[in-house]
């Protein structure tokens, strides 16, 4: 017997390149994942992302309902629409996950992040730092003769912008919480 229709020439396609049949544009999505507050649940979620090669841009987690043993994990991730759908489906099949909400597609939402900035400087730089902090509505939560710690709340973009401005003014250290997000209006996700 002879092989049928063997084409000559190498193929550049890989059978594992799963994305080409779907949209190629990388999208950024904010997911709210309501989970049973049990040991290891965060490890399950993070393990899913690392094990399957998904991105995590930001992650926050805290208990939101002590009596109901529920925590809310807010994940900002990016990928093609097909990857985003896979992430949601994979999260949904983790046993202690109660709900997965894609705040990016389920109507309008608000996103906020808190950050602390340590800025050290003297003279004009110090004055400029506190002037800009005032414009950004950042609070001074610690102060020495040579440094400030600013507390700022806002969208990740606002915090990025503040960081850029502080860098030449003596930025020493940054701590960010990651994004917390809620749907606008009366919609409730637990």
């Amino acid at each position: 017997m002879s092989p049928l229709k063997i084409k000559k020439g190498a193929t550049s396609h890989s059978a594992y390149d799963l994305r080409s049949t779907f949209g190629d544009a990388i999208e950024r999505h904010t997911l709210a994942v309501i989970v049973e507050n049990e040991p290891g649940v965060l490890a399950r979620v993070i393990g899913l992302f690392s094990g399957r090669g998904y991105n995590i841009e930001s992650l926050t987690v805290a208990e939101i309902d002590h009596t109901g043993h529920l925590s809310r994990i807010t994940i900002v991730t990016s990928g093609t629409p097909q990857v985003i759908n896979q992430i949601k489906a994979q999260l949904g099949r983790i046993v202690p996950v109660h709900d997965v909400h894609d705040l990016t597609v389920e109507g309008a939402s608000v996103e906020r992040e808190l950050a602390l900035f340590k800025v050290a400087g003297k003279g004009d730089l110090r004055i400029e730092a506190i002037r800009l902090a005032d414009i950004f509505r950042a609070n001074v939560v610690d102060s020495t003769l040579e440094s400030f710690v600013f507390e700022i709340t806002g969208t990740p973009e606002k915090i990025d912008a503040f960081a850029e401005l502080m860098r030449p003014l003596g930025l020493q250290e940054v701590a960010r919480t990651g994004v917390a997000a809620l749907a606008r209006g009366v919609v409730s996700h637990g």
Partner: protein
């Protein structure tokens, strides 16, 4: 009325309440209290394996051949780490098993104690879910929940890690009926999409059912409904490796297994169809070949209980999330109530086309000379055993593909093979689990000599419990599938792919107190197989076969379905650089 008892007793009580009659396991320091309880009761039989991997595969074999969850019990540390391969195997093939592991006492966790391992951490990615139980009061509830999770939705392995102090301490037993769970997978499919599928079936000119392990996992009703639907529509049906037996191999509409080593007619029909109805399969890379060229002209429907399987690899037009039996029942009702319509004229043309492909006779082989061809060995095994109440297990490799090609499966739950993970060493312990569940049946493990050696220690288990499992070893003194790929892909450089210093399998069998049969002549094969079948006890059948046979048909990696290799002729350069990186 609440009952107070020790954690160890709770384990046994909960297993009894779950209807467990057999546990495969291996004792050790961290599970001694549970073993003490097992010693003092008669409800559950404990099968002592010779290696923890064997316990988990045996539980898998038990589960796959019965549809009930299998249970394995091992100790902490090395006991748990030895269970990892079996857990991963069960996760990939969606097999419901419950693995109970001992753990060092809670107050020693984290201290690098003797035989301590982070079992829940290690097994988190290879279980459907796992638990570390730190309070005896919670133990029974967790065990009941574990059975629920393992068997609901897409089935899978679960693990419960039980520290030794939790086994000793007393607590309140939670009854099975008191279990609390939010885990309730959706069973019914969306009726509008099911109706759209019924409409698509009415118009389809070249339809095909592409069925998978989900049909088997859904239970016997699903296989029955599939048969009803196929008979009523007269559509052709193909299946993945995992789904063999859901539709009978002797059925008129059966076009054979599809995929990398599937039948020519099945793969061609998948490529050329205009309506593909995927029932409980997952578009695995062994099935699809090159994604871009996978069945380019078809509308695709996908019935699956796992939302993450839908649109994971192949974009489908009609996604139906639900249990196969529930969805098929609705689909049949909707299609019948709409008038049982199909495009009979075009369907007849489609069958003509399929019958032309069938004429290629892609499984044809010649048995010539004094050396047994592996295909011939399996064809004879099929002929001589098909009328028996028969269960088949396999190891992994060429013999597994030949078994899938040359053995016919008439019913679900008769075929136990490691599909997703491809675990060499799966078949033998699995056959022990099957034989435990079906003591009167003929249980055969079709093996290669290399795979079989990986868990050969289980001969001790087979002999101890008088389990008459038949180990049918196609011995080519090679790692046959590795050798085949080296021939096709790596310039015939056979790096490390031969079996040297093999044992004398007949003497090996005798050393264990079993029977060994050697056969190296095609003329003797039938008599030797009959001797194996008729022997009341475990048998190692050493069938010396052609050493350099390749397994065909084959879709080379990175190739579409319609570019199959059918035989040895000019396989050179069949796999080009793009496909060579694939496994």
């Amino acid at each position: 009325m609440s009952k107070t008892m020790t954690g160890a007793k709770m384990v046994v009580q909960a297993l009894v309440d779950q209807g467990v009659d057999v546990v495969f396991g291996y004792p050790g320091g961290a599970v001694l209290p549970i073993y003490d309880e097992i010693f003092q009761q008669n409800h559950i039989q404990h099968i002592l394996v010779r290696h923890e991997q064997g316990a988990v595969h045996a539980a898998e074999g038990y589960a796959r051949s019965t549809g009930k969850p299998g249970v394995a019990m091992v100790t902490s540390g090395p006991g748990a780490t030895n269970a990892v391969t079996g857990l991963t195997d069960a996760l990939m093939d969606s097999i419901p098993i419950i693995v109970l592991t001992g753990q060092v006492p809670t107050f020693m966790i984290g201290s690098d104690a003797f035989q301590e391992a982070d079992t829940v951490g290690i097994t988190r990615p290879c279980t459907k879910h796992n638990w570390l139980v730190k309070e005896t009061d919670e133990l029974a509830g967790v065990i009941h929940e574990a059975f629920h999770v393992a068997t609901s939705g897409r089935p899978g392995p679960v693990l419960i890690d039980i520290p030794k102090d939790v086994q000793f301490a007393s607590g309140t037993y939670t009854e099975k009926s008191k279990r609390k769970s939010h885990y309730k997978p959706q069973l019914k499919g969306d009726i509008d999409t099911i109706t759209d599928l019924a409409k698509a079936m009415e118009k389809a000119k070249r339809p095909i059912f592409y069925t998978g392990g989900g049909v088997i996992n859904s239970g016997p009703a699903a296989s029955q409904l599939l048969r009803e639907l196929v008979a009523a529509t007269n559509f052709p049906v193909t299946s993945t490796l995992m789904g063999l037996g859901a539709y009978p191999a002797s059925g008129d509409n059966w076009v054979g297994m599809l995929g990398m080593h599937g039948l020519y007619e099945a793969n061609m029909a998948m490529h050329d169809c205009d309506l593909m109805i995927n029932i409980g399969a997952r578009f695995d890379d062994r099935i699809t070949g090159r994604i871009e060229d996978f069945s380019p002209k078809s509308k695709k429907a996908h019935i699956d209980i796992d939302a993450s399987s839908i649109n994971k690899v192949i974009h489908v037009d009609l996604p139906i999330l639900g249990d196969v039996a529930h969805v098929l029942e609705d689909l049949i009702n909707v299609w019948k109530s709409r008038g049982r319509k199909t495009d009979k004229e075009n369907l007849a043309k489609w069958w003509d086309k399929i019958n032309e492909w069938r004429k290629v006779d892609c499984l044809a082989f010649k048995q010539e000379g004094k050396v047994i061809k592996p295909q011939y060995a399996l064809a004879r095994l099929e002929a001589l055993t098909k009328d028996h109440d028969r269960y088949i297990c396999t190891e992994v490799g060429q013999h597994q593909m030949w078994a899938a090609q040359y053995l016919g499966f008439e019913d679900p739950n008769r075929w136990m093979t490691s599909g997703g993970l491809g675990t060499m060493g799966y078949g033998f312990p699995s056959s022990i689990g099957v034989q435990m569940a079906h003591p009167e049946s003929l249980v055969i493990n079709v093996a290669g000599e290399a795979s079989w050696l990986m868990n050969m220690q289980e001969m001790g288990t087979a002999v101890q419990y008088r389990l008459p499992v038949k180990q049918f070893i196609l011995n080519n003194e090679r790692l046959g599938m590795v050798r085949q790929w080296q021939e096709l892909l790596h310039g015939e450089r056979y790096s490390q792919s031969w079996s040297e210093a093999l044992p004398d399998f007949v003497k090996l069998a005798e050393a264990f107190g079993a029977k060994g049969i050697l056969c190296d002549d095609p003329a003797d094969l039938d008599d030797a197989i009959m001797e194996m079948i008729n022997y009341d006890g475990p048998v190692i059948f050493d069938c010396l076969v052609e050493k350099h046979e390749n397994c065909f048909p084959m879709i080379p990696s990175g190739k579409p379905h319609n570019e199959m290799l059918l035989g040895d002729a000019s396989t050179k350069d069949a796999i080009q650089s793009g496909g060579a990186v694939l496994v």
